[in-house]
């Protein structure tokens, strides 16, 4: 399966990072480029629970494929959301269920952000994503 263009870009940028500091800077940059959500979209219904930071996630079907939008009040989490969306946006429902997101974060050198003891909420975001495509699919 060919990677979406944004994902190619993320992979190139993150794999070129020699250490945590550069990776953190990159996450902050990616987070800054994440399109904002409107105030109305940052509502309780779109809120992802299980995160200590506030996170909102919206899913929209565009023909056969899915488009997600997300944001958070925490800046590094915003970056993690950006690289997540880069990987999943534009995929079809069938592709979405088969994409290995753990592997994706590992490739970016961000595997530890997904471990169960982390309360950053990335796990909860993935779970919510699965729920959204089930109910709206």
């Amino acid at each position: 399966m060919k990677l979406p263009a944004a994902a190619e870009q993320a992979l190139e940028a993150f794999t070129a990072c020699p250490g945590w500091e550069q990776r953190a800077r990159l996450l902050l940059q990616w987070g800054q480029q994440l399109p904002t959500l409107s105030e109305a979209e940052c509502c309780e219904a779109n809120r992802v629970h299980g995160c200590e930071s506030q996170v909102w996630l919206l899913a929209e079907r565009q023909g056969e494929s899915w488009k997600f939008r997300a944001n958070s009040d925490a800046r590094l989490l915003r970056g993690l959301l950006a690289v997540l969306l880069a990987r999943v946006n534009g995929l079809k429902a069938s592709e979405l269920t088969s994409v290995d997101l753990h592997d994706w974060f590992s490739q970016l050198g961000l595997a530890r952000q997904l471990t169960p003891s982390r309360s950053n909420g990335l796990q909860a975001v993935l779970q919510r994503m699965r729920q959204l495509i089930q109910t709206e699919g």
């Binding site: 500091e21 200590e52 309360s119």
Partner: protein, 401 residues
């Protein structure tokens, strides 16, 4: 010169973490264990495990003797009046739940249970749920700006309807000794039972039950440089006699028929089923180890570390402490910086601190915060640990600002 901990070398865990590049500053969550505790665990398990109080065979007798020796050590360590005042539980949380169930029969609708605004969920939720079950009123004592229970308010709120007062000795978020002497006196005046949550307090000063004068006191092995899965519940003799049995099963029974049974008094009547034998034995070793240390030297070391921690935080721009911590820990936020971002970058740099609500959500909400970073100290921490922490903090702030 960097502050040195003379106890550090006794703790393989802190040394192993340091060798891995991890700076452990989360001892208020759980503490590392001295070699003596590891030896006791292995000694019992490798020497032949057996159940306690049940068998007349040699391994059973040996296990029972070691297990019951911890009860003596705990009684001495807490300065209880007798060994029968010490109950083993799975931890502070279970001890508080035990009390909330075993005291339920004494409470009538409209009676009041008093706690404080800084309680850990373990000393809030069992009482909250008891209040809901029995139609009781849960009264919450407010704090002053420093983070101590406000005595003037407490004097108004603790009254003739108060049947039970349950308070933390040392807050796991605010790091302050609470004015228990005055508060327990108020409870006594009104004939209320008193429960002290010593999960944090027991670690930073030698608890003395006869001086403190509470009815019940709880603490956890794993924070006390001992094993997890075991805690202590101290109950003053007359107070223990008021408890109703709550968990039923093996070895807590005097006589059983199909339709009825009679139960043992405390302590064994409240230790149903096989207890955490290895953990209890290892807790005995932890208490031995602690008793052998110079408590004044430990207190002095911890105070020096804590002062360095506060000074370092005060020197950084935008740091806001939660309350005015006196010892053991400091919780803080930084203006304009999200806790999650800071926690992320500290973790990246091998700094093990806690971020979040610290199991005290109502307290954090009342301070208008969704979370905070907490640095907590053990006697094995040293000046170098703090240097690592502050270097990492500065690096994180540079990235985020």
């Amino acid at each position: 010169m960097s502050l040195i901990s003379p106890w550090r070398a006794d703790f393989p865990g802190i040394l192993a973490l340091a060798a891995e590049g991890q700076t452990y500053l989360d001892s208020a969550a759980t503490a590392q264990k001295p070699q003596a505790v590891l030896d006791a665990l292995l000694g019992y398990l490798a020497g032949g495990a057996a159940n306690v109080h049940r068998a007349q065979h040699l391994p059973g007798e040996r296990a029972t003797r070691a297990f019951e020796a911890t009860r003596d050590k705990a009684a001495t360590w807490l300065n209880a009046a007798s060994r029968e005042e010490i109950l083993f539980t799975r931890g502070s949380t279970e001890a508080l739940n035990l009390l909330a169930y075993s005291l339920e029969h004494l409470l009538q609708p409209g009676d009041e249970i008093v706690i404080s605004a800084l309680e850990h969920h373990a000393n809030l939720l069992p009482w909250q749920q008891l209040a809901l079950r029995r139609g009781l009123k849960l009264v919450v004592l407010p704090l002053d700006a420093a983070g101590s229970i406000d005595l003037a308010h407490a004097a108004q709120l603790i009254g003739p309807r108060t049947r039970l007062l349950a308070l933390s000795q040392l807050s796991n978020v605010l790091g302050r000794w609470q004015p228990l002497r005055e508060l327990l006196a108020m409870a006594r005046t009104h004939g209320a039972l008193s429960v002290v949550d010593g999960a944090q307090g027991a670690v930073h000063g030698r608890p003395d039950m006869q001086a403190l004068g509470c009815d019940f006191y709880v603490c956890s092995g794993h924070k006390l440089y001992g094993p997890d899965g075991v805690g202590l519940l101290y109950g003053r003799n007359q107070a223990l006699a008021q408890l109703r049995h709550w968990q039923f099963g093996g070895e807590m029974v005097l006589d059983a028929d199909y339709q009825s049974a009679r139960f043992r008094p405390a302590p064994l009547g409240f230790e149903a089923g096989t207890p955490p034998v290895s953990a209890v034995i290892a807790l005995g070793a932890a208490l031995d180890w602690l008793s052998a240390q110079n408590q004044a030297a430990v207190t002095q070391h911890e105070a020096t570390l804590h002062a360095e921690l506060l000074a370092g935080l005060a020197a950084r721009q935008g740091v806001r402490l939660l309350g005015q911590p006196q010892l053991a820990l400091a919780s803080f936020t930084i203006d304009g910086i999200h806790n999650a971002d800071l926690a992320h970058l500290l973790t990246e740099q091998g700094i093990a601190v806690r971020a979040g609500h610290h199991c005290a959500m109502p307290l954090l909400k009342s301070l208008g915060l969704s979370g905070a970073i907490r640095v907590s100290l053990g006697l094995y921490n040293d000046g170098e640990d703090l240097t690592h922490f502050f270097d990492a903090l500065d690096q994180a702030l540079e990235l985020l600002r």
